[in-house]
């Protein structure tokens, strides 16, 4: 009877292949999608985040007023309370501040600035961190030691202090006032500089695991140079955790920007972010004009909370061991 078993042709296909399904079918069948559908909170957070994004992008179409344009502001309309209060005036849904700026429009445009600083800051810190982490992890030795010691030193400075330092240095070098666009650049740079360590450490850790796997050995065997192996083989396999950090860091970057702006080293009043709006509103909190600070504050809180929830879910979904 054993002959019967042996008679199987050796080079015959193991099994008939089924064509790989298209990507969207694979996605709808994936564990991540299933875990997304299970969590109502995540769906709400995603909805809110997308809503904020959309509001920021479409601010020019939705907002009744362009708060960055001094010509549209009228001091006669200053300090109008929200529409539902007794003294409310249309179209100022959430009231106006002391310059006659519509709070609702200011929030939409401020959201735009906040998110822009957040995204650019994350992009900058992620690029810097991933690159340094890849190099440190792949080459090891002295290169690794130098990069990681710099990272250690960096970590001893709180992010906010680091950002204040960069901001101060740039301002003193540039001499006095910067244009709003330049300030935005400084913010992105200082936020990026204070958040890169986390990416570098995570990427380095993953790289050290991946580079000892045999698919990397196989790539080395065919004589591919190190940078090619790093970008083609290692990088795509270490990006999972980076996505999680980037999401959580987006919330952190927005908060940091808001803090800097609140402290007065961030966005100027001529191009306010959510943090700037809160700083402005802070001056009127005790004179009864609560809406000037409350609405930007609530917007910031909901935005950051939504992004954080999204990040938490992503971390759990990408790490099946935690479930």
């Amino acid at each position: 009877m054993t002959e019967g078993l042996q008679s199987a042709p050796v080079l015959a296909p193991d099994k008939a292949p089924a064509a790989s399904s298209p990507w969207h079918a694979r996605f709808l069948d994936s564990d991540i999608w299933a875990s997304f559908k299970r969590s109502k909170l995540t769906m709400l957070a995603t909805f809110l985040t997308l809503l904020f994004l959309l509001a920021a992008i479409l601010a020019g179409l939705v907002a009744p007023q362009n708060p960055f344009d001094p010509a549209q502001l009228d001091l006669l309309n200053s300090r109008i309370p929200p529409l539902w209060e007794a003294d409310g005036v249309a179209p100022y849904l959430l009231g106006t501040d002391e310059q006659g700026r519509d709070v609702f429009s200011a929030i939409l445009y401020g959201l735009r600035v906040s998110l822009l600083v957040g995204f650019l800051g994350v992009a900058f810190s992620a690029t810097l961190g991933i690159a340094l982490g890849l190099i440190a992890g792949y080459f090891g030795g002295t290169v690794d030691a130098v990069i990681m010691r710099v990272a250690d030193v960096q970590l001893t400075f709180p992010a906010i202090l680091c950002a204040l330092l960069v901001d101060g240095v740039v301002k003193s070098v540039a001499g006095g006032q910067l244009s709003p666009a330049a300030t935005l650049g400084v913010l992105v740079f200082s936020i990026g500089l204070s958040f890169w360590v986390q990416y570098a450490r995570t990427v380095r850790g993953s790289v050290m695991v991946e580079k000892n796997k045999d698919y990397i050995a196989a790539a080395r065997l065919i004589g591919l140079p190190a940078p090619v192996i790093m970008f083609r083989h290692v990088l795509p396999n270490v990006l999972g955790p980076v996505l999680v950090i980037a999401t959580i860091n987006l919330a952190l970057a927005i908060i940091t920007e808001a803090t800097l702006s609140f402290l007065g080293t961030g966005m100027p009043e001529t191009m306010p972010s959510l943090g700037t709006l809160i700083r402005i509103g802070n001056n009127y909190l005790f004179s009864g004009e609560w809406w000037i600070i409350a609405f930007p504050g609530v917007a910031l809180a909901i935005l950051v909370l939504s992004i954080n929830l999204l990040g938490d879910w992503l971390r759990d979904a990408l790490n099946p061991r935690l479930r």
């Binding site: 078993l5 042996q6 193991d14």
Partner: protein, 330 residues
């Protein structure tokens, strides 16, 4: 006396996933007698380790025992409340796993772990328990046990650690030992020593041993009887010599022929085409039918139940009376 130490009746284990219910164990029955070593062999995905866990009630959600009975010396244990089951497990069933470090606490000396276990299950004084622990270490072949007993687990080599685990499993003088791949992490030369030890212990203490492994060689050397598992079912069970040298089930035949031998030179190994099906795609009828060179229509629709043939029990339609009669007629 004729009562088996372990008796498993029509055991079912399921895993509930969002894609549906996966049947990891689909109705298996076997007995282990006092002093007997039952080898449970199979390839990955056959369900052999799940069987071991199910017997001691260590199936974690999303898995669950979906049916059947586990009877330990006449007492049904699969439906016990968790606390009672835990006591039974500690006192009457010893366990040995592939990685000795999962069974030993790295923070405590071996002496502390052994003495604590002995005192939980007996009413020995601590000095008597310590003496018993030293005796146990001597019995499992640890040199200078009176000195080594105060070492930490990491101070032992892999083979010695596995000996300590075996000593730990013996503490409560269990009726049954479940050894799940006990030698897989060890080198050949050390593996041979552990096999010899297990065999001797079963004989000396009359302990029933369920030896779960993928290594047919280990089974052939150690077991009295062997159960060959395939896709959550027992394909064939019988005395080890008969099953190894004269397997009946086509899968068992293929498996034996696939093992390269030290003794006999072969040009080609017997190969079974394909691989073990995933739990989510177990073929209807006989689970082995797509890989079986002898499969006929009945194999594709009707699941074969175990049939007694001489000393074997084999789950294959080829050995069914009707098939044999049909063949005789043809």
């Amino acid at each position: 006396m004729s009562q088996p130490v372990l008796s498993v009746r029509d055991l079912h284990v399921e895993f509930v996933t969002r894609r549906g219910v996966l049947k990891a164990i689909d109705g298996i029955s076997f007995d282990i007698a006092k002093g007997e070593v039952l080898g449970v062999v199979g390839e990955s995905g056959a369900g052999k380790s799940v069987t071991g866990s199910a017997v001691v009630g260590l199936i974690d959600p999303p898995g669950r025992i979906a049916g059947g009975e586990v009877i330990l010396s006449g007492m049904r244990i699969d439906n016990l409340p968790p606390e009672e089951l835990r006591r039974v497990r500690g006192k009457r069933i010893g366990m040995i796993f592939q990685d000795p470090l999962t069974s030993l606490n790295p923070l405590y000396r071996v002496s502390e772990q052994l003495v604590e276990t002995i005192r939980t299950h007996t009413n020995l004084s601590s000095s008597a328990a310590r003496k018993r622990a030293i005796d146990l270490l001597a019995e499992v072949g640890i040199p200078a046990p009176d000195r080594r007993i105060d070492s930490y687990p990491h101070e032992f080599s892999g083979g010695m650690r596995q000996r300590v685990v075996i000593a730990l499993a013996l503490c409560a003088e269990p009726e049954l030992i479940i050894a799940d791949e006990p030698t897989t992490a060890l080198d050949v030369s050390v593996q041979a020593q552990i096999i010899t030890l297990l065999k001797r212990l079963g004989r000396d203490h009359g302990t029933a041993i369920m030896l779960v492994t993928h290594d047919m060689g280990v089974i052939a050397e150690t077991a009295d009887r062997v159960a060959v598992m395939y896709a959550g079912r027992i394909a064939e069970i019988g005395p080890v010599r008969d099953v190894v040298q004269n397997p009946l089930h086509p899968y068992a035949k293929g498996l034996m022929g696939a093992i390269p031998s030290l003794e006999v030179e072969t040009d080609r190994l017997v190969q079974i085409p394909g691989s073990m099906p995933r739990l989510s795609a177990i073929p209807t009828g006989c689970a082995f039918n797509p890989r079986c060179p002898f499969a006929f229509d009945r194999c594709r629709v009707e699941r074969p139940e175990p049939i007694q043939r001489d000393l074997h029990r084999v789950a294959c339609h080829l050995y069914d009376e009707t098939t044999i009669r049909a063949e005789a007629l043809a």
